[in-house]
Amino acid sequence: MKKLSVIGLVSNREELMEKLMTLGVVEITDQEDKLSDSQWHEMVARDSDEQTVAEFESQISRVSQALSVLEKYGTGKKPLLHTKKPITLREFQKALERKQQIEEKVAHINSLSARHAELTNSINKTQSLKLSLEPWIEYDVPLEEKETSTADIILGVVPSTVDALQFINELEEKVPESMAKLLKSDAEQHYIYVVCLKEKRDDADDVFRTYGFSKVHFGDMKGTVKENISALEKKVEELTAEKVQIEESIRGREGDSEDLELLYDKLVILRDKAAIRQNLLVTKKTFYMSGWLPAKAADKVSSLLEEVGCYYQIEDPEKGEETPVLLLNGGFSTPFEAITKLYALPDSRSIDATPFFSLSYAIFFGMMLGDAAYGVVLAVITGLVLKKYKLEGMKYQLIKMFFFCGISTAFWGAMFGGWFGDLVAVVGKTFFNADVSIPPIWFSPLDDPMKLLLFCFLLGGIHLFIGMGLNGWLSIKDGRPLDALFDVGLWYLLLISVTLLLVGIVPTVAKWMAIIGAVGIVLTGGRHKRGLGKVIGGFGSLYGITGYLSDVLSYSRLLALGLASSVIASVVNNMGSFGGPGIKGVILMAVAFIIGHTYNFAINGLGSFVHSCRLQYVEFFGKFYVSGGEAFQPFGENTKYVDILREEN
């Protein structure tokens, strides 16, 4: 990363921003800290164009709302993976000459969707009104008849906890000039209508109060309840029909989504261009900006700045200064950056672990999935996806990584002789009564698991040593060679000698190496502590050998998971063979094959992914990796739907 500072004329600002955006390799940093510095504060002010940003924001939200409406009601099939559509700059600009029209389309779609929401709302309202009328369906007096000249007609409910008959009896007893009828009861209440003489109304109200009778009003509804209900039903029907119609016309607008996407991306570009001015400082006639750019892009950026006519400075960051982090790796390692990113980006002052673990990741994954046929399937599927879709970013890296892992799986599977487990042998035996099998190139782990276990420990040892070595190298680079010697060199000595002792090669030399290593660790382990801590720290540090032991043992999962997938595969094959020869047997075999191997592939593929990650994250990263960097976010065209192609000139 290089640090960039630019001073230019305000009149050139637009042009520069436009070109930087197209180039897309410069991160323009926020100038908050400079503004709080009084010296800067006197001279400059923050440039900004909030009004324009807000205007674009609201346009963007309108377009994205219309797009989501189209997606919701559209029938268009979504592709499995979202990719950006390539489009030339000229086509892009030409399409946007119709901006006015596209905006009208957006407005139209949004108005349709607003009407749709309105309809949904009134359908709900009508339906709940209808529901509230339904209990009264037997009441056949028109609702506008609320009284006669001498009597009141009262509709109301009492809670279901009250005995309705008792209420009616008491009412008729206390106010003989009245009559009540229970229409219906449900879980919550009893629906009752009462007719009583107007002059006795006060007495009736007393009874109402005792029983918690509450009146129900139907507003200015006319006609009987039955008539009302059927009117409401008709209304719901009409509204629903209109709703369906609107959904259809939204669907008819689906062809517009392409235009809308173009407009969306254009608006995002314009908004970003306006928003970046937040990060500039201006005087009356000049502006200032600073930021970061990858060292590789320095030439391009400086020629661009010359062209626009700005004063600029590109320099290395100061020692210890934090910079944004951009991972750059070779062709094989690049996809494995995904694993690093899933953990956390490295601190800008430390190193990127990716190139150091990419190979071992593929090896571990391959050994754990451990079946050549699974590997071929994985590589073919991911290969096809890579060929068919133009993916980018994290998705591309993960798929490409699984492609490499698939190749590695095929390799290890062939070494260990697993092709869908022992499918060939089982099929041969069941259907052809023949003794055939694909022999392993190296050996079959089921025959000699101890050999593979030791091989796993060996791989683990190498993996750990690489991690420790990186730790030592970082210490040396940092100007602390003694730390490298004490914390890594002595451990190398001790661990190698212990291994030699275990295996029994050159025991005397190994013994002395072990003693030197162990004593050295006890003497130096507590060097950063004081007093008694030095002694305790030294022994504590030596006790760390248990940590290395468990680290190495952890690699036994390579064997165990590899066995798991190959044994499950043979369980599947075995189950398939229960049908014996003949057509039934073939069908059973096919069913067991498809279901069983798909399941085994999925669950063990997931396991291999997770456990390879764990070996890297816990065992390897734990030795040296410093995370915590901020990702490099260049100012560029952050389009969502299209990829704008420019002819190189």
């Binding site: 899933l342 698991p449 369980v571 990650c613």
Partner: protein, 165 residues
């Protein structure tokens, strides 16, 4: 009567099959673990149905114990000739007892690690409900638990592999 009963229980084949049964008990742990994770996952889905795929991956993680148990049970059954081969082999009491012992690690560790892993998966599901981008980290925590099920599987396998029949 007594003698017949003894013959039935204390013979090599029965002990070996009991070993396979114990190994398969690891499925208890997986079932409970997946259940715990499933409860958490359903809660997350009620808020955001789009996370179904992610939560399903995390929910599947405690399922491996059951598979390891199945694996050892299957190997035991193959070893004594119950599956494939030429019918039941003649297993002595001692051999049967050894095979029984080899089924214990994966079965016992599977039960407890499956439950523990389920809890850890549930916590990871909660994690991705708030930070879906941290799925990888959420997968590593349950994998830490699984290590011990893997080790038990390895011990069971090596023990079984060492027994001569």
């Amino acid at each position: 009567m007594n003698i017949v009963f003894e013959n039935l229980l204390f013979n090599g084949v029965f002990l070996a099959m009991a070993g396979a049964a114990v190994a398969a008990l690891a499925g208890i742990g997986s079932a409970i673990g997946i259940g715990i994770a499933g409860q958490a996952a359903a809660g997350v889905i009620s808020e955001d149905p789009k996370k179904f795929g992610q939560t399903l991956i995390l929910q599947a993680l405690p399922g491996t114990q059951g598979i390891y148990g199945l694996l050892i049970a299957f190997l035991i059954m193959t070893k004594i000739g119950l599956l494939g081969g030429d019918g039941l082999l003649d297993i002595t009491m001692a051999q049967g007892a050894y095979i029984f012992a080899s089924g214990i690690p994966v079965g016992l560790v599977g039960i407890f690690s499956g439950i523990a892993q389920g809890k850890s998966s549930a916590a990871s599901i909660m994690l991705i409900s708030k930070r879906p981008e941290e799925l990888a980290k959420g997968m590593v925590y349950p994998a830490m638990v699984e290590t011990y099920a893997v080790l038990a599987l390895l011990i069971s396998f090596l023990m079984l592999n060492g027994i001569q029949v």
